[in-house]
């Protein structure tokens, strides 16, 4: 048997290990390629993509590459770890460590080349699916037809061959001067515990609470400045949390014989402690990656909701027109009505005069009569108001008003002098979207109106509410309206506006979703590899115990709990991290994204539960097969 034959046989006999490593590498390539394929798509290259979106793609591509690197590195080290004993035996039989290194280097490169080729191949199929989904789900103008992605293929090929080359050199590192006996006994010897100390435990607690505290405390723009320090602090805190907590919990459990020696607990916890170091690291990695996924997707959804819902709330009318000075208001209103007739849609319409007065506050304040306000309110089924003579109602600043001036408080204190010598005093504050006005304003009794001074500014507002029309129709109407008012841009359709936002935002959302999903799936794969790298040991262990008499139920219980701890410990932490991150985000936008956050987090939690059941099923099967 030649050396090459031997190496080949080795691959086939150990196929399960190799397949796991191969698949994870292929997965990394596939993800990267799919993304590159998308980024290089002609529709995005030539279309009128905002340049910020292009930059975002570039950064995202970089993140995926760096991530792939660590992912492959991790899979490789898990792969080599499980083969240490084999290397030990080979070296015992006289293989030089140079030969072992050469062997693993060759293996690695072969796996790498195959993984890259197959990854690209599957990536082509996967891209097609993704592009189809993207086309249907997102508002992207250009159709994303399938193209032959020469650039993407070249980029992936070169990037990953380099990556595997670098990683193959790492092999030398993993196998560096270990004593032979350590290699041979590696499957029996625990890799030890992470360092444990009270100091580190307290540090973890402090780091986490400081991180959380700051994240929850800061508001507005401060969030941006706090972001990086908080991320760093929380990441370190999480690392110590898992390493310290695992040591602490396991030690306590092992000390307490009443718990440790109870039924199957001994089997469960002895294993956890045996793999404590690996587990703690996996927990940490999975928690962080999942947090990134949750936060990225949560942020994007939150942001989109903020943009679209915020606008929809502030603009309850289908079309709104604000006259400019010396505009022929009648003609303009007619233009809109003409479009509506052309498009064959019915609409209710109201026109009011909005007049602004100088009353001693630092901005010209809008004052409307109750009857005009009520006409608009009726149009969108809002409550009408009825201020008494010489009394006014203050409408609060629009919540999107970033300046936080609290003008409504000022208006409450201010009195409006009337020409007949009386004064109008505000007596209550309401919040209302009936008039789209950024700053606070007054509603007064119709009878007071004629005693008001001369307005400093005046314009006509016309509002339409279109009655039952399809979304496409609304957008079409909107497009025509904005084309016809292109000069001043002073009439717009809310539906068309939202559509435009979604269109600009679609690719960004897609990238975010894509990256988030990739991270989350990778987190799952980490857990899977963690579990499967111990499969051999577990099989042997359970085989031994079943001989002594372990019922099937007990076996399932142990496996179930073992898997559950692995799957849920990091995810629970990630969910908490994610919830805190999204709360901070809420403070940044000053817009309530609880709904979006809850949806995103629960979808992830649900997927994880499903994932847990699937993996548990197959893992139990694998173990039982060996019995």
């Amino acid at each position: 048997m030649t050396f090459r034959q031997f190496a080949l046989h080795n691959v086939f006999r150990n196929s399960r290990l190799y397949v796991a490593y191969f698949l994870s590498s292929m997965f990394a390539v596939m993800v990267f390629f799919t993304f590159a394929n998308f980024a290089f798509h002609p529709a995005f290259q030539e279309g009128d993509m905002p340049s910020s979106a292009m930059k975002g793609m570039l950064v995202a591509g970089g993140i995926i590459y760096v991530f792939s690197f660590f992912f492959v590195l991790y899979s490789m080290s898990a792969f080599l770890q499980s083969r240490k004993r084999e290397f030990g035996l080979l070296m015992l039989l006289g293989m030089s460590s140079r030969q072992v290194k050469r062997m693993t280097f060759i293996e690695n490169m072969i796996i790498g080349i195959f993984a890259t080729t197959f990854g690209i191949g599957f990536g082509l199929i996967f891209s097609k699916v993704i592009l189809l989904i993207a086309e249907n789900v997102l508002v992207i103008d250009e159709t994303l037809n399938f193209y032959f992605p020469t650039k993407a293929i070249l980029l992936s090929l070169v990037s990953f061959i380099i990556l595997f080359l670098v990683i193959s050199f790492f092999v030398t590192f993993v196998l560096r001067t270990k004593k032979l006996v350590q290699l041979i006994k590696s499957d029996k010897q625990s890799k030890g515990e992470p360092k444990a100390s009270i100091f580190l435990a307290i540090l973890a607690a402090i780091l986490l609470s400081v991180g959380y505290g700051v994240a929850l405390y800061v508001e507005g723009v401060q969030v941006v400045f706090a972001l990086l320090p908080v991320v760093i602090v929380v990441t370190i805190g999480t690392y110590f949390f898992f390493t310290q907590l695992s040591v602490f919990v396991i030690r306590r459990l092992k000390k307490n014989k009443h718990i440790f020696w109870k039924k199957t607990n001994m089997l469960l916890f002895s294993d956890l402690s045996f793999r404590m170091k690996d587990n703690a690291r996996t927990f940490f990695m999975v928690a962080i990656i999942s947090t990134v996924a949750f936060s990225a997707i949560g942020t994007l959804f939150g942001f989109q909701a903020y943009l679209t819902k915020g606008i929809i709330e502030a603009n309850p009318y289908s079309i709104i027109y604000n006259s400019m000075e010396d505009e022929d208001v009648k003609a303009k209103v007619n233009d809109v009505n003409k479009i509506l007739t052309e498009e064959n849609v019915k609409a209710n319409q109201e026109v009011i005069e909005s007049k602004y007065y100088e009353i001693g506050v630092d901005y010209p304040v809008l004052i409307v009569t109750a009857s005009e306000y009520n006409r608009l309110a009726k149009l969108i089924n809002e409550d009408s108001v009825d201020p008494k003579e010489n009394q006014a109602i203050v409408v609060e600043d629009h919540h999107a008003n970033i300046n936080n001036f609290k003008n409504d408080e000022k208006l409450m204190e201010t009195k409006i002098p009337l020409k007949d010598g009386k004064e109008i005093q505000a007596y209550s504050t309401i919040s209302s979207a009936v008039i789209n006005e950024m700053q606070a304003y007054y509603i007064i009794n119709d009878n007071d109106y004629k005693y008001l001074p001369e307005p400093v500014k005046q314009s006509t507002v016309a509002a339409w509410v279109i009655l039952d029309a399809t979304d496409e129709k609304l957008i079409e109407v909107g497009e025509k309206v904005s084309e016809s008012f292109i000069e001043y841009n002073n009439a717009f359709s809310i539906d068309y506006m939202v559509y435009q936002i979604e269109r600009a935002y679609g690719p960004i959302l897609f990238i975010g979703l894509f990256i988030g999903t990739v991270f989350f799936v990778s987190a799952g794969s980490f857990l899977y590899f963690r579990l499967y790298s111990d499969l051999d040991n577990d099989q042997e262990k359970f085989k031994a115990i079943t001989k002594l008499g372990l019922t099937n139920d007990e076996l399932k219980k142990v496996i179930s709990r073992q898997t559950a701890i692995l799957f849920f410990a990091p995810i629970i932490v990630a969910l908490i991290h994610g919830a805190v991150a999204l709360t901070a985000l809420k403070h940044f936008f000053d817009y309530n994204i609880v709904y979006e956050s809850v949806i995103v987090l629960s979808v992830f939690a649900f997927i994880q539960v499903v994932y847990f059941f699937i993996v548990r099923h197959f893992y139990t099967k694998q173990i039982q097969k060996a019995l």
């Binding site: 625990s190 020696w261 001994m266 001989k547 372990l550």
Partner: protein, 255 residues
């Protein structure tokens, strides 16, 4: 106590292999029986069948009048850990556990009280001279120590039937005698029925009866008289008949 009736075992594989042919065996309660035979003759196979770890191709096995192979999987597992004790040829110790934890494992699965378990483990460890290694892990002890740990684990729950596959295989003659004394003691004190597979005539001479297997068939059977020494000599003689590869010996009828 133990009845083995017309047991056959064929290992299915690319080439099916007949490991046991028509084995009949009766063991009384409290009896101590040794099984001897050349390597590959089917001793471990027979023990595994009795231990319900493996299924016979045909034939029946009764332990206390009950056929454990007919029990459901879960009941069988409970039966095994409560009624039977094993010492495996390859020890079968768990390397994630300490010596002490390995010993009490069968008891913990049955939810015994911690105090009782601890007491029993300490007692048995003292008897076997392994008290000083109780906190060690399995890769930190010698082969002979591992063997004694396996014996401790197999006897801690006072099984009705103890099955041991070469329990003295790794021991020097002094330790080997200690272990055999220990087993005889358990056998006499607690009336535990014992089935012992061994290559060591010295160890076999501690038992009441020795059964010889060759090529998967019962070859012969000898009983112990009053003297262990005479018995030992008889075993040696039978082994020399058995041991040769010469097929002429197969015509010798069991005595």
């Amino acid at each position: 106590m133990l009845q083995v009736k017309k047991i056959n075992k064929v290992y299915q594989g690319k080439v099916p292999y007949r490991a046991l042919t028509d084995i009949d065996l009766d063991v009384e309660k409290g009896e101590f029986v040794s099984i001897m035979g050349p390597s590959g003759s089917g001793k471990t196979t027979l023990l595994n069948l009795i231990a319900t770890i493996d299924e016979p191709t045909s034939g029946d096995i009764f332990i206390d009048g009950e056929n454990p192979h007919l029990l459901s999987r879960n009941k069988l597992a409970k039966f095994r850990r409560q009624q039977l004790g094993f010492v495996f040829q390859d020890f079968n110790l768990l390397n994630t556990l300490t010596v002490e934890e390995n010993i009490v494992l069968p008891l913990t699965l049955d939810g015994k009280r911690v105090k009782d378990m601890k007491e029993k483990a300490d007692m048995i460890a003292k008897k076997l001279g392994i008290s000083h290694i109780m906190e060690k892990r399995t890769y930190e002890i010698s082969g002979g120590q591992a063997q004694r740990v396996a014996i401790a684990r197999a006897t801690i729950h006072h099984p009705k039937l103890l099955l041991a596959d070469e329990p003295t295989g790794n021991l020097d003659s002094k330790s080997s005698r200690d272990v055999m004394d220990m087993l005889t003691h358990i056998n006499k004190q607690e009336h535990t029925t014992m089935l012992l597979v061994t290559h060591d005539a010295q160890a076999a001479s501690y038992s009441d009866r020795v059964i010889f297997i060759r090529d998967g068939r019962l070859y012969s059977e000898i009983h112990r008289g009053d003297s262990q020494k005479a018995f030992f000599q008889k075993i040696i003689d039978t082994l020399s008949l058995l041991g040769g590869n010469d097929n002429d010996f197969s015509s010798v009828r069991p005595s």
